[in-house]
């Protein structure tokens, strides 16, 4: 099975009757995902999970610099 067939299978598994344009885009986005994976596996430690809100901001992002009122 080539990449295009694989993409079609993955999209159809979600009930998507894909357009041709979607297949090319999906291939491109898999390459984006691969580059992210490579960086994460190289430099991000196992303790680092997703954090999306700023309720627990690392010091420096809104910590000491803010109090200095630069």
């Amino acid at each position: 099975m080539d990449e295009t067939d694989s993409i079609r299978c993955r999209l159809r598994a979600h009930g998507i009757r894909e357009t041709e344009a979607a297949v090319g885009l999906a291939a491109s986005w898999l390459r984006n995902a691969a580059r992210v994976r490579a960086v994460v596996e190289e430099v991000v430690g196992p303790a680092a999970g997703p954090v999306t809100a700023f309720t627990h901001v690392p010091a420096g992002l809104h910590g000491e610099e803010r109090r200095e009122r630069r």
Partner: protein
């Protein structure tokens, strides 16, 4: 001074003119509506509330005459991107699917604007469901750039930015996920801020990607952005992502000097892969900040190579999750580009998505390290000036680049970590098209970005130049 002069200027000057009876609210709204009609060829508006706005103008004038003063936005004409709900009028989010969607309640930002006395005169064209950077909308027409209608206004808040650039309103509310406030502001020569995630409520705004979405003002100047942000920022029980962090006095912050402030540009990134005119303008902008007393230095931020990739993964997966059912049942009602993007998003795995979110956490820590050395980070907002409508490939430094990827090169720097970033005009290319400067600051330091933008605009005149009428 007549209404035309007032509408060409800033919000605070207009507020003074209204209170000194040099212009009436009705004159200002009538001038706004006349200009909206005159730029109909730009497709910047999808809905205009002429009768309602004129009625409101009379009511607000009465309030002002009787001493019921709601502040600097009282009687000021503004517009909304059409993914922002206003009770009783259609919110399409640029789509055919929502063409009959009439919300019963205002978005939280609209409630805030109404409380501040602003008058919503219309809703602006946008990229369908905000999922794209061109505002080439298959349902409501392709929006044009205010400086050259044959060129792209960028997107997805393209109608909002061209409406402000054409001086039809003082400000428009846009939304920014991957750059949708900053890019249109840059290509249209106006100012626009993406706030910290959680600073402004997304309540009543149709989502694109929940963990990236923000609502932010587009206006002629940093000062005007500050006035609008002041009105709309703050915690909102309707949006659980909003922060309880107190909202500072942004206008007061604008007055603080820049002497000693540390500004960084990113080594091997801020001027890499940009058109020559953008590089020239950027270098002149950093020199301007130095002349204002700032200390400008290079900073290194490691691991940025995958930042656009991470934005693409997040910005692809979340909308597909949102649109799945419609896509399966009503796929033909989407425009071809957005449909393809939504379909393609399903190829990404849950692991791909989580890795992108983990990258995001990592890069946020990298920015935290950089912000120990500097107080703000500068980049161009876009590496190019406005491409022609429909142009997919653009020459950058002798190399052909995909417009739809290159347009995230710099905006991803704030979108991925969730930081605030302001665009201010920083010059023009040889063809007279605007370039934009991006000012990124730590979380909840919108005031610092606005201050840097305001001080820059006090020293330059780019933001005062209007497109030809």
């Amino acid at each position: 001074m007549n209404a035309a002069d007032v509408l060409d200027g800033g919000v605070l000057d207009a507020a003074r003119a209204l209170r000194e009876r040099r212009v009436s609210v009705a004159d200002l709204v009538a001038e706004s509506l006349g200009r909206i009609n005159a730029i109909s060829g730009l497709n910047a508006y999808v809905d205009v509330f002429g009768d309602q706005a004129l009625s409101l103008a009379q009511a607000h004038q009465t309030m002002l005459d009787c001493g019921y003063d709601l502040g600097p936005l009282h009687g000021i004409p503004v517009s909304l991107k059409d993914n922002v709900d206003m009770a009783g009028v259609v919110t399409t989010a640029g789509s055919a699917i929502l063409k009959d969607n009439v919300p019963v309640a205002d978005a939280s930002v609209v409630s805030a604007l109404k409380r501040a006395g602003a008058i919503v005169v219309g809703k602006n064209n946008m990229h369908e469901f905000a999922w794209g950077g061109t505002t080439a909308n298959p349902h409501y027409g392709t929006a044009g750039n205010a400086w050259d209608a044959s060129r792209s206004p960028a997107g997805s808040s393209g109608g909002s930015a061209s409406a402000v650039a054409a001086r039809t309103v003082f400000a428009s509310i846009g939304t920014d996920t991957g750059g949708s406030v900053r890019n249109p502001a840059a290509l249209n020569g106006v100012s626009g801020i993406r706030p910290t995630i959680g600073r402004v409520s997304n309540g009543g705004v149709f989502p694109l990607a929940w963990t990236l979405d923000t609502v932010g003002p587009i206006a002629k100047s940093s000062q005007d952005c500050a006035v609008v942000l002041q009105a709309v920022a703050g915690h909102d029980p309707r949006d659980l992502q909003t922060s309880a962090e107190p909202v500072p006095d942004y206008l007061a912050e604008l007055e603080r000097p820049l002497a000693g402030i540390r500004i960084g540009w990113i080594h091997d990134y801020s001027v890499k892969d940009v058109q020559p005119a953008v590089r020239t303008a950027f270098e002149a902008a950093t020199a301007t900040f130095e002349s204002l007393g700032a200390i400008v230095t290079a900073v290194a931020i490691p691991d940025l190579d995958a930042i656009v990739d991470a934005l693409v993964v997040l910005d692809a997966a979340e909308p597909s999750a949102l649109h799945g059912r419609w896509l399966r049942e009503r796929g033909d009602e989407y425009g071809p580009d957005v449909r393809a993007q939504l379909e393609a998003g399903f190829v990404l795995s849950a692991v791909d998505y989580v890795q992108a979110q983990r990258y995001r956490t990592h890069i946020r820590a990298r920015f935290a390290e950089a912000f120990r050395a500097v107080d703000a980070i500068l980049t161009p907002t876009l590496p190019f000036t406005a491409p022609r409508i429909g142009q997919d490939v653009i020459d950058i430094g002798g190399r052909d680049r995909d417009v739809h990827t290159a347009n995230m090169q710099f905006t991803a720097l704030a979108s991925v970590p969730g930081l605030p970033a302001l665009n201010v005009p920083m010059g023009f290319d040889a063809g007279g098209l605007p370039t934009g400067l991006q000012i990124i600051t730590p979380a909840f330091e919108e005031g610092r970005a606005l201050r840097l933008g305001h001080r820059f605009q006090m020293a330059t005149t780019f933001h005062l130049k209007a497109p030809p009428r």
